[in-house]
């Protein structure tokens, strides 16, 4: 099965650092399959790497591309997309 990709708009008011970055990297790690995240046309980084994710400097409204490879790729991307498009700071 080829890797699948998806583009998501960031919903978190504080972008993808601190708590949202932690939640996202944790979820990517827990998925057990390789997932990458890239900002705009930048090079992809390991989505399970909190440092890699933070260092992308992603802000609210930015678009990112997720790529996952594996049996559960579809459901993993569903879950991760939902995390990214939610504004966790507004909870």
């Amino acid at each position: 099965m080829p890797p699948i990709t998806r583009t998501v708009r960031i919903g978190s008011a504080h972008g993808l650092h601190a708590r949202p970055a932690k939640m996202f990297a944790q979820a990517a790690k827990d998925s057990g399959i390789p997932v990458t995240i890239a900002k705009d046309a930048g090079s992809p980084v390991n989505a399970a790497s909190i440092l890699g994710v933070i260092a992308l400097g992603i802000e609210q409204g930015d678009y990112v591309t997720l790529t996952a490879d594996g049996d559960s790729a579809e459901t993993t991307l569903d879950r991760l997309s939902e995390l990214l498009s939610t504004d966790h700071d507004a909870e």
């Binding site: 650092h17 601190a18 932690k22 944790q26 390991n46 440092l51 933070i54 260092a55 400097g57």
Partner: protein, 561 residues
């Protein structure tokens, strides 16, 4: 005595003996490893896992916001990108200690280079690196000291792991040599109401056990304090403690003169907290939040909903809304996209609204609708008014839309100097002390190199405020203060002495200011204000007001006994 300057967090004061945070471990040397790469790798894996589990456990103990930060740190320790960097170095024959130190440093430099919030997260990463290296060496990680008695903690900057386990009963105050107002230390200090001065570079010279006074309101750490200074600090701390537990009463002076205490709000959601802390209304509601996240102006419907939400929280009370204040530090592309060399002196505030009058008209429409739908007493004011003509223009257009009370902000010296003429044509004035200070002293308030000029105690600023106060008295019209100056408990008394009739501030400052006003009569306040006005600079104005306040308070006590 010597004074060390930094950025104060909050308004408290505390004193006690210094206890220093253990110095960081020396950086590992780059000697070749005598172990095999496999052995070094397994040492690192064990150390990293140990640190991650410890951080998670601390997080579980701490709970709340600290738990998120500590769990994020645990993830950093076991980060796969970092692991790859460490393995590469071990593969090249480095020791586990050096590989960890060097790999973390690479990521730290990336974060530091990004600056701002991410730059301050570099401290989180440094802390994780120190813990891993300490574990590899079999020594205890640097951490919070425990001298066995209450202490003033002095550190470079506190990492989340330290702050989470801080025994708050033992910590009298926090002083850091690095870190700014958004550092972890500052966030913790605000959250837990701990007296703190951050970024006090000269505090590196403080020695273990020496007595210091930490004054967050002034942003100063005093070494070798005199007994008089210590007593004064003690009294202030005691006053604050009783103010915090005092019942919430309407703002008033000792003689019963009412001085309504209002809240500065930036979003309707802040209303609940403000009411809980005793705000008697809103003295400044900033409407920028509706516009800053938008590429185009919000619709009348969107604005009406937000204003209605705000006004509904204050039935029967005064709510002063400021129309859009764009420009300078708050640029909005759809209002003014021209590049300006000096945005603080450019097309901003009422000037920008006049240039895009439809935005002002829509805002006034939405405000009038919200006013009609609720029971609050809506006042509307224009920002950055520099001339009598601008004041008359805004007042007329606001009245056209049915706004019952229309006024202007006094932030530009020209409108303070002509306040008598401005107030003859409008309903009220509200003094924005931050901008008034910036314009009076010609010092950009966003520029660190001239930050020392940004002090509202400067007698030139006070004299301008007196002009406005006198004009208000002459016309029988209200003069409010809605800058940070109103949150300084002693300056609040001075402002009332200069003629301010209401004070608006961040809701967390209300208790301190309420208590301070109750100690002085209107006559006292005028005498204290005169003392400050007579000084040559901000520091001596503050000192003169303090001396006058002490004299007035003791005279009052004698008269009462």
């Amino acid at each position: 005595m010597t004074e060390l300057r930094g950025v104060g967090i909050g308004l408290g004061v505390a004193q006690g003996p210094v206890a220093r945070m253990a110095e960081p471990l020396p950086a590992p040397g780059d000697a070749p490893s005598t172990l095999s790469a496999e052995e070094e790798t397994s040492r690192v894996r064990a150390a990293v896992a140990g640190v991650a589990r410890e951080l998670e456990q601390r997080g579980a103990q701490a709970g709340g916001a600290a738990q998120d930060v500590l769990e994020a740190q645990a993830m950093m320790a076991e980060d796969p990108s970092l692991e790859a960097e460490i393995d590469t170095r071990i593969g090249a024959g480095k020791t586990a200690e050096f590989a960890v130190h060097d790999a973390f440093a690479t990521f730290r430099d990336t974060l530091t280079a990004m600056g701002g919030y991410l730059g301050e997260r570099a401290a989180d990463l440094d802390d994780v690196a120190q813990r891993v290296i300490a574990r590899l060496r079999g020594v205890s990680a640097p951490g919070v000291p425990d001298p066995g008695h209450p202490f003033v903690l002095v550190a470079k900057d506190l990492a989340p792991a330290d702050t989470a386990l801080l025994d708050l009963d033992k910590v009298l105050a926090l002083v850091t040599t690095e870190g700014g107002p958004t550092s972890h230390t500052a966030i913790l200090a605000r959250e837990k109401s701990i007296v703190a001065v951050v970024g006090a570079v000269a505090a590196t010279g403080l020695v273990e056990g020496e007595m210091v006074i930490v004054d967050a309101a002034a942003g100063v750490v005093t070494t070798q304090p005199t007994s008089e200074e210590r007593e004064r600090a003690h009294n202030r701390a005691a006053d604050r403690a009783s103010a915090a537990s005092a019942p919430i009463t309407p703002g008033a002076l000792a003689d019963g003169t009412a001085v309504p205490l209002l809240a500065n709000l930036g979003k309707p959601e802040g209303a609940v907290e403000a009411v809980a802390l005793g705000a008697e209304g809103v003295g400044l509601f900033r409407t920028e939040f509706l516009f800053l996240s938008a590429n185009q102006a919000p619709t009348v419907e969107q604005q009406r909903a937000s204003y209605t939400q705000l006004l509904a929280a204050f039935p029967g009370k005064k709510v002063v809304v400021r129309v859009l204040d764009a420009g300078a530090d708050k640029p909005l592309a759809f209002l003014n996209d021209a590049h300006e060399e000096n945005p603080a002196l450019g097309l901003r505030g009422i000037r920008a609204l006049r240039a895009s009058e439809d935005i002002l008209r829509e805002q006034l429409t939405a405000l009038a609708d919200a006013d009609a739908a609720t029971d609050a007493d809506l006042w509307v004011m224009a920002p950055m008014v520099a001339t009598v003509e601008e004041s008359d223009y805004f007042t007329a257009i606001a009245r056209d839309y049915g706004i019952k009370t229309a006024g202007v902000m006094v932030e530009v010296p020209s409108s303070a100097l002509l306040a008598d003429r401005i107030l003859s044509g409008t309903d009220f004035a509200s003094i924005g002390t931050n901008d008034l200070t910036q314009y009076t002293l010609a010092a950009d308030r966003l520029l660190g190199s001239v930050a020392a000029f940004q002090d509202p105690w400067h007698p030139a600023v006070l004299r301008l405020i007196r002009e406005v106060g006198d004009a208000g008295r002459m016309h029988g019209k209200p003069v409010g203060i809605c800058g940070e100056a109103a949150a300084d408990p002693l300056l609040a008394v001075v402002l009332v002495g200069l003629g301010a009739t209401s004070l608006s501030m961040a809701p967390t400052a209300l208790a301190d200011v309420r208590a301070s006003l109750l100690q002085h009569s209107l006559d006292d306040a005028r005498v204290i204000a005169e003392a400050a006005l007579a000084a040559n600079d901000a520091a001596s104005a503050r000192e003169a007001a303090r001396a006058a306040a002490t004299t007035q308070a003791s005279a009052g006590a004698v008269a009462a006994s």
